[in-house]
Amino acid sequence: MTPDDTTRQALTTLIPRLRRFARVLTGNQADADDVVQACLEKAMLNLDQWQPGTRLDSWVFRIARNTWIDDRRRAHNRAGYEDIGEMIDLAGDDGVAIAEASAEARMVRAAVDSLPAEQRDVVALVMLEEMSYREAADALGLPIGTVMSRLSRAKAALAKRIGGEGAVQ
């Protein structure tokens, strides 16, 4: 079987979104890139399991999420939360402009990071990837109502944190 160049190209294009997805799941970019690395390796080894005609991104996100869950189960004793803003700042050598990202963006990221894990993946798919509830439900293997309720609770928590801190100037 010849490797599918088109699929590999599509995977390469997906990497930035995959990093963002993993970043939301893990809470910092270093762990996120570990997840992305393992995810891409698995995806390459199992390319034949992806069914052309179905969404490649959903397939890869599912792999990433499973990778992350396995990783957490192994209870790696990782360093605690880095300041997410700094992680993003550090990640780009020439990203000085990124480092100057607004305080609000930083605060919103912190708010997302503070959500329970089962809400973060829903946030990542519906809010960031702009999937429909149905697509997110399929990607996560959850009933659609559960996706909706998790997002509902996530929105409530985010609104409280973002609105609350924003009001303090």
């Binding site: 997302v112 809010m127 109502g145």
Partner: protein, 259 residues
């Protein structure tokens, strides 16, 4: 039977403004049981300021330069063969895709794929194929071959023939630094049936990554230095990457020491 909810309740549920936890759970359960209700709720979803704020906050992640070690995973061809050694061995007698014409591995394709392959990957495939019958049939030979190669690339001066056990004889042809400051070495391996050329650069972790390789069709009688004889893919890769003087003698040894 499905309990009934008002549109206002369902909209509040979607917006995250419903504070009654029991009601949230009830709506979730009802939606899970009733596809028609799910559709009705989906139709209620509108613009979402929170989502927009979250997208803005994480947008910088999308713009960060992607680390090369991530793109490399996807660029590496047929990585499954690396893991499946039996399959890799089974293909040995088949024609090798990269031959002396370099048709499969011309530099533009390499650049486009941002390919940078782990040495073990290469050894598992074509280079071992060039090793001829008998060589490297034991399971451990891949590791051995890779270790021998690593040692040669780490220490051997250009122009010195090095015994690579089952792989044959190796020789570093050229040492230089690329535009990223990585130390790169072009080398050749003369096996029983064929001679292969390759270019490897040391990554940040000090591991050698093969940037290009090619195989000469016919065995050559004696070692030859870089130039027209090397596989075109490798010559092209060297031309494209070289960003320093060719390092020789004491300079080369000093650069190797700090890689």
């Amino acid at each position: 039977m499905t309990p009934s909810f008002t549109d206002a309740q369902l909209a509040a549920f979607l917006d995250g403004t419903l504070e009654d936890e029991a009601l949230i759970d009830a709506i979730e359960a009802a939606i899970n049981d009733d596809p028609a209700l799910a559709e009705r709720v989906e139709a209620l979803s509108g613009s979402d300021e929170t989502a927009a704020a979250v997208r803005d906050a994480f947008a910088p992640v999308l713009d960060m330069p992607v680390p090369e070690h991530l793109t490399r995973i996807v660029a590496a061809p047929a990585s499954a063969e690396v893991v499946d050694l039996a399959a890799a061995r089974a293909t040995r007698k088949l024609p090798v895709p990269a031959n002396d014409t370099g048709s499969t591995w011309r530099w533009p394709q390499f650049a486009a794929m941002a390919a940078s392959l782990v040495i073990g990957v290469m050894i598992g495939g074509p280079l071992l194929t060039g090793g001829g019958a008998g060589g490297g049939s034991a399971d451990g030979s891949l590791v051995l071959a890779s270790a021998d190669l690593d040692t040669m690339l780490d220490t051997a001066p250009s122009g010195q023939a090095v015994d690579l056990a089952s792989l044959g004889t190796g020789e570093v042809v050229l040492t230089f630094r690329n535009a990223d400051g990585q130390l790169c070495r072009q080398f050749m391996i003369e096996g029983a049936g064929a001679t292969s050329d390759a270019l490897a650069c040391a990554d940040a972790g000090g591991d050698w990554q093969v940037e290009a390789y090619g195989r000469r069709a016919a065995p050559v009688g004696e070692m030859k230095l870089a130039g027209g004889d090397a596989a075109p893919a490798v010559v092209a890769a060297v031309d494209a990457m070289i960003d320093s003087d060719v390092l020789v003698g004491a300079d080369e040894a000093a650069e190797l020491a700090k890689k």
